[in-house]
Symmetry: C2
DNA sequence: ATAAATAGTTATACTTTTGTAACCAATTTC
DNA sequence: GAAATTGGTTACAAAAGTATAACTATTTAT
């Protein structure tokens, strides 16, 4: 029971640790070669395309980015007109960030570009494996997205 | 049919892109704070714990690391006595790398340390989600590990 | 036997990310 | 209303990763 669960957790972590460089390999690398954006700013776009509007602090928290780095990355995205600052009327310290229409379009194209190599590899999978990968990535994403996000307040304030 | 598959692939890629910073967040960060090794050298240990013995080139290929970077990381690991160089008798240019016993022990402990935070979060999952995450990470790992390994360009022949 | 290719190292310049500290402006607390 | 806190920016140093070229030594090919 407990032993059994512990083994499962170890294996899950083992798998995730192994997975990480595989994703870095395929994604981070082509981000660099195919776009003029940093990986970091693309992660921000990824978060924004899920959460619509996030404050600077929330971005830093969700992505574990130091605040100064968030500022720098967002500045870049604003220079590219991909996101915009929205000043919060209820608390004028807060700077909310939202993607522009241009940003959404560009991001879509960039994702296409960046994942070109991976797409080709995935395309070669047979139907059963494709389905399997589809379901599994969805599960991993959902569960991890859920448990790794510190929306439970306090944990996100420190950074 | 084709349309349907394309949608699936898009979604898979969407999921993987979203997943990547989540893993970075939980893993890379605590690697830095809890060990005196670079993330890069831990990825090498991860590969070595799966493949037993790899040449310098194979390491670089599997992790998409530039060869000079591999040299630097392996030097660090050797300084920590976690891996050792094995000179290939059949081709004296090749330098094979293998974990030492100390390396295996240390790596195990480091993984435990590094995944502490994630472990606590996963532990809170109910049994069904735990099982689901277990299965899914395994599938994603296996399939990605399979298709992301380069056999096309230069080397990376061993799997 | 010479030329070409391969495996790995060294050196160097560069980009990206991380980490601190100081700072301003706005808000909250008391 | 003074003091403390918070959200964000600026500035700067350091770590980590990337990219290239040049080099040694070994091996392979012609």
């Amino acid at each position: 029971m407990i032993n059994n669960e512990t083994v499962s957790i170890d294996r899950i972590i083992e798998n995730l640790i192994y997975l990480h460089p595989l994703l870095s390999k395929s994604l981070t690398r082509s981000i660099r070669s195919k776009t003029n954006l940093n990986p970091g700013s693309l992660y921000i776009l990824g978060m924004l395309s899920k959460h619509e509007i996030l404050s600077m602090s929330e971005i830093g928290c969700k992505l574990s980015m130091p605040k100064p780095h968030v500022t720098a990355q967002v500045d870049k995205l604003i220079a590219e007109e991909m996101v915009e600052r929205l000043f919060d009327p209820t608390d004028r310290r807060i700077v909310n960030i939202r993607m522009t229409e241009k940003g959404k379009e560009d991001f879509k194209a960039i994702k296409q570009e960046v994942s070109q190599d991976m797409r080709e590899r995935i395309t070669k999978l047979d139907e059963q494996k494709l389905k399997s990968l589809f379901d599994s990535t969805q599960v991993v994403r959902d569960i991890l997205s859920d448990i790794m996000t510190d929306t439970k307040m306090n944990l996100c304030t420190k950074i």
